[in-house]
């Protein structure tokens, strides 16, 4: 019973998220909107962690599985890329590596700067 209640609540949040996303003047994914909505509900203590944690932890734990049909759907798109499949994959791979690299570098640099700033503050005192 507890699980069904949690699931119905989560589905309601998702539906509300889809509805809210439609109201925006630009296209925004309903699922991300639902994520922000649920975060807001949790932060404002309207929803308590224990009221949703069983179903949320289950879905999070198996998240990769739910992408399986989307991945299999690619088989239909193979013809669209006649003869370009290798450069296509190469571009996807290289840009993913570049993006990961610059993002992580930016995080590391700012962390280092903040740490230095904090250290300086401490020596100033």
């Amino acid at each position: 019973m507890r699980h069904l209640l949690q699931m119905s609540f989560l589905f309601f949040v998702c539906l509300a998220g889809e509805g809210l996303a439609k109201l925006l003047p630009f296209a925004f994914p309903g699922s991300i909107m639902s994520m922000f909505l649920l975060l807001l509900l949790l932060l404002s203590k309207i929803v308590k962690e224990h009221q949703i944690q069983d179903i949320c932890d289950f879905l999070l734990h198996h998240m990769a599985f739910f992408f399986l049909p989307a991945g299999i759907g690619i088989m239909e798109k193979y013809q669209l890329l006649q003869g370009r499949i290798i450069p296509f994959l190469l571009i996807c791979l290289l840009t993913t590596v570049f993006t990961f690299f610059t993002t992580s570098l930016s995080m590391k640099l700012i962390f280092a700067l903040q740490k230095k700033g904090n250290d300086n503050e401490r020596t100033d005192c």
Binding site: L10, C14, E18, F26, A27, F28, P29, G30, S31, I32, S34, M35, L37, L38, L39, L42, L43, E49, I52, Q53, C56, D57, L59, L60, H61, H62, M63, A64, F65, F66, F67, L68, P69, A70, G71, I72, G73, I74, M75, K77, L80, L81, R84, P87, F88, L90, I91, C92, L93, L94, T95, T96, T99, F100, F101, T103, S104, M107, K108, Q114
Partner: protein, 226 residues
């Protein structure tokens, strides 16, 4: 036999068995390259081709599985909530890094597409490839790209991110879990995040919030830059 494979329960049962099988294989071998999602996709595509089962038949059950993507993505809110103090503490580096990552992704796509002689429609289809599907489709069509190619690029990028991110964390020595999470979410959206969740709660939470932030940044950048 045809009636059996056209039953929506068939693709669901097939997906569950294959995925669980590869998950056990990865757990036993402990090789991160044996990504269960990637292997399951390859195996099921092969299976459908060999037994000439049309994709529509698979999708009758596949749609049920895909439906759970929305509540699974919403569930990331719980991870973010649990790590909210960390998010509050690091909001500046997270925002700046999502911006840096989104710019890198879009510009490197442009440069590489020109290098490989892709036309402008194909290039426009690839530009939003690092963000989550609904945003990517919107940005792609706005730049006169081909939405179905965008979907393929987004999914492939996500799977690549999920497979190689543990390796990239080691190569680029990303020791901080928050930095690793933000990097995964920015370069490979929700599919990558599914891997980040497996790496740890902080990684998962930071990756989840980065999908939203870099998605919004990409929409704005597409309006300004192109």
């Amino acid at each position: 036999m045809k009636e059996l494979t056209a039953n929506p329960m068939f693709p669901i049962a097939l997906s569950l068995c294959v995925y669980e099988g590869f998950r056990i294989l990865q757990r036993k071998t402990k090789i991160s390259a044996l990504n269960p999602l990637l292997l399951s996709i390859a195996f099921i595509i092969l299976f459908l081709n060999i037994f000439s089962i049309p994709l529509e038949d698979y999708n009758s059950g596949g749609a049920v599985i895909s439906m759970f993507l929305a509540p699974a993505t919403a569930s990331l809110a719980l991870s973010i909530y649990r790590e909210f103090d960390l998010l509050k503490k690091h909001w500046v580096p997270i925002l700046v890094s999502c911006f840096v990552g989104s710019v890198t992704s879009m510009l490197s796509v442009c440069v590489l597409c020109r290098l490989f002689g892709f036309n402008e429609h194909l290039t426009a289809s690839l530009i939003p490839k690092s963000v989550t599907t609904p945003i990517a489709i919107e940005v792609s069509s706005q730049l006169s790209g081909i939405p179905s190619i965008t979907v393929a690029a987004v999914v492939i990028t996500g799977i690549l991110g999920a497979v190689i991110s543990p390796v990239l964390i080691k190569i680029f020595k990303v020791n901080d879990p928050a930095a690793a999470g933000v990097s995964i979410g920015t370069c490979s959206h929700a599919v990558g995040t599914s891997k980040a969740v497996e790496l740890g709660e902080i990684e998962g939470a930071m990756s989840g919030i980065s999908i939203g932030i870099s998605g919004i940044i990409t929409v704005i950048l597409a309006l300004i830059l192109f």
